[in-house]
């Protein structure tokens, strides 16, 4: 058999073409259908990502309509409104009460919302730290009410402060703190407790 001196090269080329065609076929089937060749990504992944379940509801989810009204938990609404209007209005309910998903699932209550009365919760934000902004209220044993009542950092904050409105005038007035404040004035340096008592 006299083949061309290049016949082995031709056979090799045929083999390569077959492999190449097979590969091209596999590739074309493997590229996802929603692939955007210009921006170069799988567009359907946006849908996949938006399906991630939510854990935190945000305050709008705690607003109460349909959840707490029907059970007559009016105190919840009272606290919600106090929070919304007062000095803690920047807070999310879930900052202290835990994520919504721990409390509610599929529109039904699965567990009580977390209630933490430890002062470590308050001090997480209000504990004195050098790096905190100077205009942010940090616990200070020398400030007006605290020095007058000899409140130390270990004392339970809840005894005087309602977290939903920590400057709630009624509560502080009951304790006599507001009278002290009006006597001394907000801008004066606090005196030692022994001096005032005289």
């Amino acid at each position: 058999m006299n083949g061309s001196p290049r016949s082995h090269i031709y056979r090799l080329l045929v083999l390569l073409v077959i492999i190449g065609a097979g590969f091209a076929a596999v590739r074309s089937l493997a590229i996802p259908d929603s692939w955007d060749n210009e921006k170069f990504y799988r567009v359907d992944s946006l849908d996949d990502l938006s399906l991630q379940p939510l854990r935190i509801g945000g305050n709008e989810a705690c607003a109460g309509a349909g959840c707490h009204d029907s059970q007559g938990l009016a105190k919840h609404e009272e606290r919600f409104n106090a929070l919304a209007k007062g000095s803690h209005s920047g807070l999310a309910c879930e900052n202290c009460h835990g994520p919504l998903s721990d409390h509610v699932s599929d529109g039904r209550r699965v567990a009580s919302a977390l209630i933490n009365r430890e002062n470590t919760l308050c001090l997480g934000c209000h504990g004195p730290l050098l790096s905190r902004p100077k205009d942010f209220p940090q616990f200070n044993a020398e400030n007006t009410g605290h020095w007058y009542f000899d409140v130390e950092i270990t004392a339970p904050c809840r005894d005087c402060h309602d977290p939903h409105e920590p400057r709630h005038r009624a509560a502080l007035r009951d304790m006599g703190a507001l009278e002290v404040e009006s006597e001394i004035g907000a801008t004066e340096q606090p005196h030692a407790a022994s001096e005032v008592a005289q």
């Binding site: 006299n2 083949g3 082995h8 090269i9 090799l12 590739r27 692939w35 170069f40």
Partner: protein, 399 residues
């Protein structure tokens, strides 16, 4: 000393773990050996350097054996190795890494074609001689063409030369792109330099030449064959030449950074005098660069012969094979030690049996040599071994 007036060692919370570990150290090492061995083969096939005629085929087979395992460290490293083929399906060409799939596979095809052309005569001879299943395999390897005419031999020679010629830039691309992968990362001060692809390529050639020297010496020692001293001498001269350029460029990069005294030096200086001092200054430079430089200089200038040449060549080659491995480690891991906070360094933790541990790395690095050994049982590799036929087989068959 900590960078940028830092009082404590600080790194970003996500930097506690280094992501590119030993597998990414050995990957460029292996592709470097592929490129380096191929260049040696091309020194004969393209540049017609007669001294390397007897090792050209051996260099090609070695390149192939290393090439077989180039992708393995990557598969060990990927978080999702089953999706590895995405690099073929949707290669994102703005990324240097995306070219890996096609460049690597096309290069292996080129290498296999060149090997096939070189061994075709031998395959045909074996297909005629052997029966049964082995005979079938040899027949398949001939693609059914059972004669080896002088004209066909001339065609093979032309194609081989052509493939060896385009193989050089292709091998350079196969390894150079790895340098680009590192050199183009502006976020990493130790990696980012335009010199990176050239440094990687030159050290690859150094590692290839040095590794071939060690393999050659070992094989000739085990098979009790004579050493080709003129070839060894010339090979060491080339090794010295490539190494000088490589070492010079590695040093140049640091000199520039130190001189500019800019952001890069603010982290590189503390890196080299701190966490990387032992493996870079002492290991890579003093022991593994200066010493082989002097040995190879001695070999080139004073031309020792016989056992002296052999021992010196082996010593220099061993040191350089390690130098390149150290270089890969110092670049890959060293760069990641620098925190992107510019205020500290993170730590590298050695693992042994884990996915990117020392044990798998050693196994993967050993595998090409095992395959090489297996191949020697079937095909002749170093030219003057008994099975080699020197004359072409007659054109007509028995029909």
């Amino acid at each position: 000393m900590l960078p940028n007036e830092s009082l404590v060692n600080y790194f970003f919370p996500n930097e506690a773990e280094i992501h590119w570990s030993l597998m990414i150290v050995i990957y460029p090492y292996i592709t470097g050996l592929v490129a380096g061995a191929f260049v040696v083969s091309s020194l004969y096939h393209v540049f017609r350097i007669k001294a390397f005629e007897n090792i050209a085929r051996f260099a090609l087979v070695s390149a192939f054996c290393f090439g077989l395992f180039a992708a393995v460290p990557l598969l060990f490293h990927l978080g999702q190795p089953l999706r590895a083929f995405n690099i073929f399906f949707t290669p994102h060409t703005t990324s240097a890494m995306s070219v890996f799939g096609y460049v690597y596979s096309s290069y292996m095809i080129l290498l296999m074609i060149e090997l096939w052309l070189v061994y075709r005569e031998y395959f045909i001879q074996k297909a005629r001689e052997t029966q049964g299943m082995p005979g079938m395999i040899w027949k398949i390897l001939t693609l059914g063409v059972m004669d080896y005419t002088p004209e066909a031999a001339r065609v093979d020679h032309k194609v081989t030369t052509f493939l060896a010629a385009i193989g050089i830039p292709w091998a350079c691309f196969l390894h150079g792109y790895v340098g680009f992968i590192f050199g183009s990362v502006k976020a990493n001060a130790w990696w980012a330099t335009p010199l990176q692809p050239i440094i990687f390529l030159l050290s690859a050639i150094v590692s290839g030449i040095a590794m071939l020297m060690l393999m050659y010496a070992f094989i000739r020692w085990r098979t009790r064959q004579a050493y080709d001293f003129p070839m060894i001498q010339k090979l060491m001269v080339f090794l010295w030449g490539f190494f000088i350029i490589d070492f010079f460029l590695e040093g140049l990069e640091i000199v520039y950074a130190a001189y500019e005294h800019g952001h890069h030096w603010s982290v590189i200086g503390p890196l080299l005098s701190g966490p990387l001092y032992d493996s870079y200054v002492i290991g890579q430079v003093l022991i593994l660069s200066v010493v082989p430089f002097l040995i190879l200089g001695y070999i080139t200038i004073f031309k020792p012969w016989g056992k002296g040449l052999l021992y010196l060549a082996n010593l220099a080659s061993l040191l350089l094979v390690l130098q390149v491995l150290f270089m890969r480690f110092n670049v890959v891991v060293g760069g990641q030690l620098i925190s992107k906070s510019d205020r500290g360094f993170t730590e590298f933790h050695w693992e042994f049996l884990a996915r990117e541990g020392v044990v798998p790395a050693v196994i993967i690095l050993s595998a090409p040599f095992v395959v090489f050994y297996i191949l020697t049982r079937f095909i002749p590799i170093l030219e003057d071994e008994p099975e080699t036929q020197q004359r072409p087989i007659a054109g007509t068959d028995n029909a």
